[in-house]
């Protein structure tokens, strides 16, 4: 009984650590990526913790609801943030024994993120404006085309590990380090980087700093949100970024994740995760700096490329077994 109690307690503490880490770290990652961009532009730029300042200010403001909107607009921030937080809580970010690790399946995480995307798209349509519909249409098109690449890349990893349970994959990769250098993993990594760029709305798929509504994809869906609602949505988007980056890092470079049940291991894992994810964020930001935004109808070609790489990853796995 004490075993279950202590493992439940450990899982709870670990999951809580993960949620807090991603909730604070997600905005910090966005700030870091913005900082790399501004330094590349040769200016000082806002500090890395500027997104946290923005969030603090937003949460204190009032929310506004459009006249023809419904409960969907009001509930969407909660659902987006809730589904992303659940995905963060059950993912193996700092430990291989988070809460509900039995249900921590790759497909559960993928479909939880899909739930968030769908809710955002519905909220965009709920405003009854042209911009909202446009952002919703574009975002869900890109999501629909990124979904196959994501699922097939995830399946490639699952075939290699003989399971789709995420903590098990991470734990097995730690004990079999040779897996990380297989062609399967490398192809899946490239495919997943393309998918992560599309899902988080970074260049070259979407420009997060654009002011022109006709070039917006994710921004256009949130044009109608204000105050605390906007704060929740922004936090949800930041946590989604944090989750995708940390998952990417942990699937391909899992060393540092705590496998035991000690608090010291947990703290060390937090440090390692922060280091690894920051490195990935800098790399992605450099990709952003070097690329121009793709025309909307060229984005499917990019995602199709990612899809082909993912399929190649599966084929490579089957052939090299």
């Amino acid at each position: 009984m004490t075993d279950i109690g202590s493992s439940l307690g450990y899982g709870f503490i670990a999951s809580l650590t993960q949620v807090v880490l991603v909730a604070i770290g997600g905005p910090l990652l966005m700030g870091l990526m913005a900082k790399v961009r501004t330094r590349a532009e040769g200016r000082v730029g806002a500090p890395i913790y500027q997104p946290l300042r923005d969030l603090r200010k937003l949460m204190a403001k009032e929310g506004l609801r459009a006249r023809y909107s419904s409960v969907v607009l009001a509930a969407a921030p909660l659902v987006v943030l809730g589904s992303t937080t659940l995905a963060v809580a059950i993912s193996p970010l700092v430990t291989t024994h988070p809460l509900l690790s039995a249900s921590s399946d790759l497909f559960v995480i993928v479909y939880l993120l899909l739930t968030g995307s769908i809710t955002m798209a519905l909220a965009g349509l709920d405003t009854g404006t042209a911009f909202g519909g446009m952002g919703s249409s574009r975002a869900i098109t890109i999501g629909a085309l990124a979904e196959p690449a994501l699922l097939v890349a995830v399946i490639a990893l699952s075939i290699q590990a003989r399971t789709s349970n995420l903590p098990t994959i991470v734990a097995d990769t730690i004990t079999h380090p040779v897996w990380t250098s297989t062609p399967t993993r490398l192809l899946a990594l490239v495919a997943l980087v393309i998918v992560v760029i599309a899902e988080t709305g970074r260049l070259p798929v979407d420009n997060p700093n654009t002011h022109l509504e006709l070039t917006m994809i994710h921004e256009a869906m949130t044009l109608e949100y204000a105050g605390s609602d906007l704060g929740l949505i922004t936090l949800g988007a930041a946590m989604r970024l944090g989750l995708l980056f940390t998952l990417l890092v942990n699937l391909f470079v899992p060393w540092g994740v705590a496998t035991g049940s000690s608090v010291l291991g947990l703290l060390a894992a937090v440090v390692f995760l922060v280091l690894k994810t920051s490195l990935l964020a800098v790399v992605v930001s450099l990709i952003e700096v070097h690329s121009a935004k793709l025309r909307l109808f060229r984005v499917p070609e990019l995602l199709a490329g990612g899809f082909v790489l993912a399929v190649l990853a599966v084929i490579t796995e089957l052939v090299t077994r």
Partner: protein, 164 residues
């Protein structure tokens, strides 16, 4: 002509070298009662400007004078903004749009008048298309005089709101 300051170089080189931004001036007086604490998003509204102030605002957010290091940012939607940055004199055609923009702001909000035209009508005060001056429309919190104002002045005005 010396090209050392603007020599073409790789992006990576600029990542590791010193930024080309002007050093920050002395901290201005903070406008009381705003309490933005380092985060200010403004929606720029041109109600009837000659675009001179817009060029200076663009310079204020450009690498040389960089207002974003003090936490200020321009945003696309007034819903995302803490206030409006108004340039130009209030013309008849844009009066309605300005009203709707102000209505779309979440409270509490600020109004920043940039340039002589926004502050007191400037040189276009007596023109036929002018509806009113900004002061008669709405309570203005910060005024930036000048035709056009220096980017440094714009940055200092924004700092007086953010307090950083």
């Amino acid at each position: 002509m010396s090209t050392s300051r603007y020599r073409r170089g790789s992006i990576l080189r600029s990542l590791f070298s010193k930024a080309r931004t002007e050093p920050a001036a002395a901290m201005p007086d903070i406008v009381p009662g705003i309490g933005l604490r380092g985060s200010l998003q403004l929606r720029h509204v041109d109600v009837g400007s000659c675009n001179g102030c817009e060029i200076e605002i663009a310079s204020a957010f450009a690498p040389t004078y960089d207002a974003s290091r003090f936490g200020a940012r321009l945003v696309a939607s007034p819903r995302h903004a803490d206030g409006v940055l108004v340039t130009g004199v209030v013309t008849r055609n844009m009066a309605g749009a300005l009203e709707r923009t102000l209505d779309a702001l979440p409270q509490p909000s600020v109004v920043v008048a940039c340039g002589d035209c926004a502050v007191n009508g400037g040189i276009f005060r007596e023109a036929y298309g002018v509806e009113a001056t900004l002061d008669s429309f709405v309570n203005v919190d910060v005024r930036i005089p000048g035709c056009p104002p220096h980017p440094e002045a714009i940055t200092q005005a924004l700092r007086s709101l953010t307090g950083r």
